[in-house]
């Protein structure tokens, strides 16, 4: 009878002790598994976040450099009034960046304003419109505003389906269709539902608008009607062009045409969607090499991804701590139990030693006993692990997500400011880059969930941990066996 069979006989004969060992080992394995599951789920959630949240790069005029140039001009000439000269983004540069790896798509944004001619813009009773309108184009979408402001904001985009306000479902197409890439070089527009109701406009109707400078008019065809949120912020509900209802979406080419011929083949800003958010930095680095950085800036908008990543990293870090703490505590607990078990079995060890059994085989017997216990414990943990992992994971994610979301919002003062930009570009969603990122981040971070699943790989990993724990425990406890003299046990 070898030590494997002895181990089995011992476990069967000492049922109470065996059950106790299984319970203790199961509890340890359960918590190790819960930690492993949460860690793996956090990894998977981070990976999913890469796919679902995405990240963007925004190419726009370099405002900092423009201000510097303006200040230098002011210093050299005190007679002329300083003016900020911003260079619109050239499409040629855009196409170069678009060819970079990991750039999935891009959205061109060009904004301007016009005056309604064949219809009336939604008017407000506010008298402070002028001051708001001239507040300075804080948002990138607003920095190309002409000096005289119209009552209708024209938000030119490549496609509304690429615009965050629409992708986030804040704005919804209720009739007709959105602006598509094929609308380039056409006068197709979509208007807000309130404006459509007030003026009894419908899809297929034509409206006329007049440029804010000069007498040029444009006939625009309504191809769709969208609905802006009814609960706009106070800043969104500004007068004139800043009112979301007075915003019309068109192709960026139409906005450029209205702004003037020198704006042909340009955009105020371009948002590139990066397929893998983890690659944002490398794409940004490569993109900067393709542009004149004294005129343009390329900024990364991966706050959402970073916030989810940070949140998941915290969960993962906590899960790692659980795994290691439980593993260490489990090793200590099991080692103590095995030490006590060995002390209790000194007599048996003495008998085996007196027969000439090797100490290694006696230790091997204990190892086999614990291995059998471990196999059962891993099974028990496998059954209960998903439940514990889910509960623990939910708790952790709830804490982490709420704290991260609040951090993101508190760190992003432009979350509404961007949309409230005086450039009248609020509905474009590209207006405030930090605002856009925050908006996306707060909405998607809240949805982050841990999908805790027990897989054979998890169980194998748990088994590995368990083996290591029992190996260390038995090694620690075996010191006594190696020193044990059969005479002391059996005769003294």
């Amino acid at each position: 009878m070898n030590f494997f069979k002895r181990a089995w006989l011992n476990l069967v004969a000492k049922k109470g002790r065996t059950v106790l060992l299984i319970l203790v080992t199961s509890a340890i394995m359960l918590f190790v598994l819960a930690g492993l599951l949460i860690r793996n789920a956090a990894d998977a959630a981070t990976s999913n976040a890469k796919k679902s949240i995405g990240a963007t790069l925004t190419l726009s005029a370099n405002r900092e450099a423009a201000f510097k140039k303006m200040r230098q001009g002011t210093a050299s000439s005190t007679k002329t009034k300083p003016s900020l000269s911003m260079t619109p983004v050239k499409l040629a540069d855009v196409k170069k960046i678009a060819k970079l790896n990991n750039v999935a798509s891009y959205n061109l944004t060009s904004t301007t304003s016009v005056n309604a001619k064949s219809f009336d813009a939604i008017s407000t009773s506010s008298t402070s419109s002028q001051s708001v309108m001239q507040g300075g184009g804080d948002a990138p979408g607003g920095d190309k505003m002409t000096s005289s402001q119209g009552d209708i904001a024209v938000s030119g985009v490549s496609a509304t389906s690429l615009t965050s306000n629409f992708t986030d479902n804040n704005y919804k197409i209720t009739k007709g269709r959105g602006i598509k890439a094929s609308d380039a070089n056409t006068n197709n527009i979509i208007i807000e539902t309130e404006l459509a109701k007030q003026e009894s406009l419908k899809v297929g109707d034509t409206v006329t608008v007049k440029a804010t400078s000069g007498s040029k008019t444009y006939k625009l065809t309504i191809v769709g009607i969208y609905k802006a949120p009814s609960t706009s912020t106070s800043s969104q509900m500004g007068p004139g062009a800043t009112d979301p209802s007075n915003t019309i979406y068109s192709s960026y080419t139409l906005a450029n045409t209205i702004k003037g011929t020198k704006y042909a083949n340009t955009a105020d800003s371009v948002t590139f969607t990066v397929s893998d958010p983890a690659k944002v930095s490398s794409v940004k680095k490569a993109g900067k090499k393709l542009i004149n950085t004294s005129k343009y800036s390329l900024s990364a908008n991966d706050a959402s991804y970073q916030s989810v990543k940070a949140s998941m990293n915290n969960v993962k870090s906590f899960a790692d701590k659980i795994v290691w703490l439980v593993a260490i505590a489990g090793t200590i607990i099991l080692a103590l139990i095995v030490i006590l078990m060995i002390r209790e079995r000194r007599y048996e060890i003495g008998v085996l030693l007196s027969m000439g059994e090797s100490r290694m085989k006696i230790i091997g017997q204990f190892f086999v006993e614990m291995f059998i216990v471990l196999v059962i414990a891993v099974g028990v943990a496998g059954i209960g692990g998903k439940f514990v992992g889910n509960k623990l994971g939910e708790q952790l994610v709830a804490q982490e997500t709420s704290s991260t979301a609040s951090n993101v919002n508190s760190q992003r003062p432009g979350s509404t400011g961007g949309q409230a930009g005086p450039g009248g570009s609020a509905p474009s969603g590209q207006a405030g880059r930090s605002g856009g990122a925050s908006f996306m981040g707060s909405s998607k971070t809240d949805k982050t969930e841990l999908d805790v699943q027990v897989t054979p790989t998890n169980l194998a990993e748990l088994g590995g941990f368990g083996l290591a724990i029992i190996f260390i425990s038995i090694t620690l406890a075996s010191g006594g066996i190696l020193r044990l003299s059969p005479r002391k046990v059996l005769i003294d």
Partner: protein
């Protein structure tokens, strides 16, 4: 078979030695009794010849080889079989499994032979039912028989027994004495029994008394 030269043992100081310069010879096919008063060092002597402890002085040789050079574990495994006063059986097993375990550990020529083990137990008076129930449910006499059967199943040529009849009644004592005689004479083994019972000593072929640190042949 077993040669003891200048054997000495003490715990803390040599001046307080249990015995010194012991020179004895034990032969195969013979039974020996070591008698003496409690505390005289009989059991210590037995633990030395059984390879459970190392002597402080002198040498023990088995078939011409020092047991230290054989290695005490190997010596116990292949050459010695020990019967204790308290039986020292594996308590979580049946008598049959105790025998099978001993046969496996000592690499007996009958290793794994369940029928042989059953036959041995039957010879020593255990029923088939008793063979398979837990060893702790047997009486003292039956447990000692199992311990002796364990010895008989192994191939060790040296059998040492420490007070094997200490916990037994008179009838069982006589049975056990006869069994040891059979082991010595029929199985051609060397049996050394440490005892303080005159009946047991009288039944053995040879008898040594340990008194005042010295072994004296009585028979």
């Amino acid at each position: 078979m077993l040669t003891i030269k200048n054997l000495g043992y003490w715990y803390d100081r040599q001046e307080n030695s249990l015995f010194e310069n012991v020179n004895l010879e034990f032969e195969q096919g013979q039974s020996y009794a070591i008698v003496g008063q409690s505390g005289s060092g009989k059991t210590t002597f037995l633990s030395l010849i059984a390879g459970l402890d190392k002597p402080r002085a002198g040498e023990i040789s088995f078939n011409g080889k020092g047991i230290n050079s054989i290695g005490l574990t190997k010596y116990r495994q292949y050459n010695v079989s020990i019967v204790f006063q308290s039986y020292n059986l594996l308590t979580y097993m049946s008598p049959l499994n105790n025998l099978l375990t001993a046969m496996a550990v000592t690499q007996s020529s009958h290793k794994g032979d369940k029928k042989y083990a059953q036959e041995m137990l039957r010879k020593l008076g255990l029923t088939d039912e008793q063979m398979t129930k837990n060893v702790q449910r047997l009486s003292g006499g039956q447990q000692q028989r199992v311990a002796i059967a364990r010895t008989m199943c192994c191939d060790a040529k040296l059998v040492v027994a420490d007070e094997p009849t200490g916990n037994l009644d008179e009838e069982n004592t006589q049975d056990v004495i006869q069994l040891f005689q059979k082991i010595a004479h029929e199985q051609n083994r060397c049996v050394i029994i440490v005892t303080h019972e005159p009946d047991v000593a009288a039944a053995c072929d040879h008898s040594y008394r340990l008194a005042h640190h010295v072994f004296t042949a009585e028979k």
